[in-house]
């Protein structure tokens, strides 16, 4: 099958949905002529024109806030936040407005919009303010839907589904995945939000992950195979809703769990996954649950430091071996 990059898959999803539905439009900083710093929106302005693909002032709060207002009035905005780190200045529009529209209006108003938190994560020497994994700033906010695809295929299918849902969706795009290639069908398909993907079957260890760390887990799993550990790798794909059943089924089978994400461990989403298992599959655990994540520091700039910051295959293997021998 045709292989395209993650960034191209995201664009394809937006383009297909904009052709299908005139109420869908894209706004953000430098998304039009420029096509985005990561080439995600290249060519969209040329196809749809400045009424449906346009640049906004350097005003993230107004960007997302205006998206909410437009969504409440029947449009289906896709708003791109250039770097996910900037979510801190759009938090109110996301957490206090978009997320609460349906409930506070007693179901009379919806806010169907997709907030693309672009280029999250470390790896490009971008410093503390252009490299963060921000999902936990949002995972305790009722009303939100949060997805974080790890492949081009999922990126396209999940984004198309996200654009069609009547609720606000936060779409997390890891900057180190943009150039990653993967098989993506030409035409129409959807990936269900809230359904995890078992990327690799295994019998005695479950590795739960999402975003960029999925590939790290897959590499680790191959190495672990040589050590006699058969690791099952689960890509959550969505954090809200969460596919508890897939996680629990795997843990009931393997009895061992390691959760891996790029965000720092303390207060990270891994805690939620561990808690779900500790409540609903505790009896099946043959060993303590381990979490792998970044150290408790901001993302450093220098290559030697940043490379050490990002969880590596070795970290996953170390945790896995500890769990298997524990």
């Amino acid at each position: 099958m045709r292989e395209i990059m993650y960034r191209d898959a995201i664009r394809e999803a937006m383009v297909e949905e904009m052709r299908r539905d005139p109420s869908v439009f894209l706004m953000g900083e430098d998304v039009a002529e420029h096509g985005g710093n990561f080439l995600v929106t290249t060519g969209m302005y040329e196809e749809f024109g400045e009424e449906r693909v346009f640049d906004t002032p350097l005003s993230e709060s107004a960007l997302v806030g205006a998206g909410v207002g437009a969504a409440m009035m029947g449009m289906r905005p896709i708003v791109e936040v250039m770097f996910a780190d900037f979510v801190t200045i759009a938090m109110d529009a996301i957490a206090n407005h978009a997320a609460k529209v349906y409930y506070m209006s007693g179901g009379e108003v919806t806010a169907p919009m997709v907030i693309r938190l672009a280029a999250y994560g470390a790896g490009r020497r971008s410093g503390a303010h252009h490299s963060q994994s921000v999902e936990s700033l949002l995972t305790n906010v009722p009303g939100l839907t949060i997805v974080a695809p790890s492949t081009a295929y999922d990126a396209k299918g999940l984004l198309k589904a996200a654009i069609r849902t009547p609720n606000p969706v936060v779409f997390l795009e890891h900057k180190m995945l943009y150039a990653k290639k993967g098989e993506v069908p030409e035409g129409e398909y959807l990936v269900r939000i809230g359904v995890a993907d078992v990327k690799r079957e295994g019998t005695n260890l479950t590795l739960v992950s999402y975003g960029r760390m999925v590939d790290v887990c897959l590499v680790a799993a191959r190495t672990l195979e040589k050590e006699g550990v058969s690791a099952e790798v689960i890509d959550l794909r969505s954090l809200q809703p969460l596919d508890e059943e897939t996680i629990l089924a795997s843990v009931r089978k393997t009895g061992h769990l390691v959760i891996v994400h790029e965000a720092p461990v303390r207060g990270g989403f891994g805690g939620e996954v561990a808690a779900v298992v500790a409540e609903k599959a505790l009896g099946y655990l043959d060993a303590p649950i381990k979490r792998v994540g970044a150290p408790w520091v901001p993302v450093p700039f220098s290559p030697t430091l940043e490379d050490a910051y990002v969880p590596q295959e070795a970290d996953v293997i170390r945790a896995a071996m500890a769990v298997m021998s524990g």
Binding site: S59, S61, G69, N96, V101, M104, S105, P142, G194, E244
Partner: protein
């Protein structure tokens, strides 16, 4: 004054009725506070009613208003039943969102009221987004966004107005300058001479007007609306006014304020002022005045009765409605 000249006597009488009804609503509500029943802390708009009435009179149903914390009149002019508002204030199931949200920031799509927020000023970009939708949909509807002098110090005021200016959106920003942000007087949160001048920094006109004269407000807003419908962009109107009550009913009207200043504003009362004008030009007589007042009293009495007699929402409804129903083909998994 092009627009007010087109107002017919029945328009003037209707404006007067709306002013009286709003005043009646607020006075009765404040009187009830503390005597049981009223759950939502009242933030009385007495003294400022001319702004909401003047700005909203004559709006289309599809035109949207984003009220401030002190724009009771906007709900009333837009046709949100006083009984629904009162029931919401009582926390009843017959109120907005069946009691899930306060009426302060209630949504009413049927009457063109946008869902607001408890974060003062954060509603501005959202109102701007509604205007953006009108532009993209090529509709000549407008949005009227009310907020106070305190809200004008929020970053969202700046980002929202600049955004609206850049895209020439059909929106009118109505700044209710009552000289206070809660208990902080204007001079302690603003060093400028006026707010109207800020519009220049966004590329559209700004004007300071008398917010206690309903016709002055009507004229200015109608002019701004015409601009907006014609695709010429936003306008900022700074309406000078004062609130009679304290920031909210938790304090007495004089609390941290100068009684003399308070009294001086009562002289400029928007309801009495308009009343005197109507009596003078013969559009209204004592009898008509009385019947309008009586009707307002009856309506609010009925609304209060409705609120009192309405049931509270059953606790079971608590956990419903955080998400609009989703196509199972699109979304699975567990929310919690």
């Amino acid at each position: 004054m092009a627009y007010i000249e087109q107002l017919q006597p029945q328009d003037l009488l209707e404006m007067y009725r709306l002013l009286r009804l709003t005043r009646e609503f607020e006075d009765r509500l404040c009187a009830l506070w503390g005597h049981g029943g009223v759950v939502e802390l009242p933030h009385g708009s007495q003294g400022q009613e001319a702004i909401a009435i003047g700005a909203c009179y004559g709006l289309r149903q599809q035109d949207q208003v984003m009220p401030s914390l002190r724009t009771r009149g906007a709900f009333i002019v837009k046709g949100v039943p006083t009984s629904l508002q009162m029931a919401g204030i009582f926390g009843k199931a017959t109120g907005p969102a069946r009691g899930k949200s306060t009426t302060h920031h209630m949504a009413d799509p049927e009457h063109g009221v946008l869902l607001g927020t408890g974060l003062i000023g954060s509603d501005i970009p959202v109102a701007v987004g509604a205007a953006l939708a009108f532009k993209l949909q090529k509709k000549d509807n407008v949005v009227i966004n009310f907020f106070g002098d305190g809200a004008a110090q929020r970053g969202d005021f700046h980002e929202g107005l600049n955004f609206a200016g850049v895209f020439k959106l059909p929106i009118v920003f109505v700044l209710e300058n009552n000289g206070y942000a809660e208990y902080t007087p204007l001079e302690k949160h603003f060093a400028g001479d006026n707010f109207a001048c800020r519009a220049e920094g966004y590329g559209f006109p700004g004007e300071r007007i008398d917010g206690n004269n309903v016709l002055v407000v009507y004229e200015a807003v109608q002019r701004a609306i015409a601009r907006a419908r014609a695709g010429e962009g936003p306008t900022l109107l700074e309406c000078m006014t004062f609130r009679y009550r304290s920031h909210c009913e938790a304090r007495a009207p004089e609390y941290l304020r100068d009684p003399v200043q308070l009294a001086s504003w009562h002289e400029k009362d928007p309801v009495r002022q308009f009343e005197a004008y109507l009596l003078e030009c013969g559009v209204l007589d004592e009898a008509g005045m009385e019947s309008i007042a009586a009707a307002a009293q009856d309506e609010i009495s009925a609304s209060i009765r409705f609120a009192e007699e309405s049931p509270f929402p059953p606790a079971a409804e608590l956990s419903e409605g955080a998400y609009a129903p989703e196509d199972p083909a699109l979304v699975g998994g567990r929310r919690i």
